[in-house]
Symmetry: C2
Amino acid sequence: MDYEIFELGDIVLQRGATLRGAKLAYKTYGTLNADKSNVIVYPTWYSGQHHDNEWLIGPGMALDPAKYFIIVPNMLGNGLSSSPSNTPQPYDLSRFPNVTLYDNVTLQHRLVTQKFGIERIALVVGWSMGAQQTNQWGCLYPDMVRRIAPFCGSAKTAPHNIVFLEGVKAALTADAAWNGGWYTTPPTRGLRAVGRVYAGWGLSQPFYMQELWRELGFSSLEDFLVGYWEGFFLKKDANNLLAMLWSWQHGDISDNPVFKGDFKRALGAIKARAIVMPAERDLYFPAADNEWEVSHMPNAECRPIPGVWGHFAGGGSSPADTRFIDDALKELLATP
Amino acid sequence: MDYEIFELGDIVLQRGATLRGAKLAYKTYGTLNADKSNVIVYPTWYSGQHHDNEWLIGPGMALDPAKYFIIVPNMLGNGLSSSPSNTPQPYDLSRFPNVTLYDNVTLQHRLVTQKFGIERIALVVGWSMGAQQTNQWGCLYPDMVRRIAPFCGSAKTAPHNIVFLEGVKAALTADAAWNGGWYTTPPTRGLRAVGRVYAGWGLSQPFYMQELWRELGFSSLEDFLVGYWEGFFLKKDANNLLAMLWSWQHGDISDNPVFKGDFKRALGAIKARAIVMPAERDLYFPAADNEWEVSHMPNAECRPIPGVWGHFAGGGSSPADTRFIDDALKELLATP
């Protein structure tokens, strides 16, 4: 086990359930300095775990463990933090409660403050749902968070994004083996179907036209669909996927007791210096939505990632896009 | 029955099967004039039937039955022409053979020439897969087809489009009730899943952001997903959908004995005056692909349909888009 567990105790979730003995899995990189001024928080993405964030961490990179203390908290539902797959009865499997962005971030805040006694965060950064958590950090804790860099995400899940996820969910749950979540063996047909549905959304039209899956080591389009996409989701737990999907569909930084649904006010509360990076060709977090958000954030810039990798521009597989993001993070961290 | 059947006899399909007693269902609108110079051919789209094309036909419109003789041939697999659902054993259900664009168009050509003795066509026009058939008409019969107007389609199915369809297929076939095509009652869970997968692709991100489904008479996003999308696919036969999906995935106007896979040569053979109309926000037939195609067509113009309806700009539900298409058709038909 290459990560730590922060015991949350019994937590009352935003939608009302009490998750008893809840756990937040996390991993840290680097060393917390004496005045605790070198903290970076880097939440995970849909189905990702801390190790899936490591491509953006390393010597010479913006997220350099020699300089920064980087905390990667695992999102609830991702199989390491409390999830359908690891929660004891009676809140296991299909009974795992609905978890919001607000739940995730307030619990991460407990980790950061209670476990480490941190009062200021140099940067919160994340991809996709990690970007959504990043935005949530920004508006909930404006005096704590100095900078944010959400990439390929949004502050509020758009209706079309919700619809895309309905397709993912429908493909998974069309498999009778899913059995309303009460499966004993994985619904593999549904998981494979999720991979095929997702394949069209994760990358752009010209990515496929240019056969850039070759750069990822696949020998044909079908090899990419099976070897990458089906393989990716076969490793995931179906109930976990559905739990995180619910969190995603309900992503809204203003849907909480602090902002009471006032989205513009929540955006306006993000005082942190922000570089918001949509991917130019992202099919479900379109750049236009980020541009609108940034126009309501007091200290933010929208800086689209050029190219054809679509949502996966932020996934660490495209060296040019990784460089683009890393350069922006360096620039952001260099600002006072 | 509001349509006619053209008996094709025993046909040898491009991929080798012989479909015995094959049938081409069609409907005509208007009257063939004495010199047979007023012919328009208007093929159907994925799962559409002749009546689904009627929104673009009417008095005062470009496709005015008072002026033109409009032939709407039903695509093979659509449930009216020979299809998995209506073909006798042994080529029924899952055994229905693979049908290409080339098959469809050469059989339509037989209808037009053998049944009606037509030698010249004023216009071939169609939406989506209908546009693909339109392009196929243009390059196979350049001396016969004077004008073409393919909208929201392409001359060759792009890899990303193939991937999108893999998601549709996977969602349908994840339902065990599909049973490899040997179902006796419809795989309704899979058909509903297809609706939900398709929902994200058929319309654009801003369509959903602006809640334009309200203009279609739906009361909520979920009402649109159930009432429109699930309802739409529940009316379709699963094997028919899969048969047409195969045709679509293999759509390529050059994949036939005439052009032997030379796509540029096939495009170059389209002598017809062409107005090619992609929808600005189409997610699976992107405008960029049409622009490239048009650059290889000798007498063509690319004229994107503006707005946020995405692929459904060509479906007849958006009055402004319908007007745009109709205006272009009027202009095209007025050229010598």
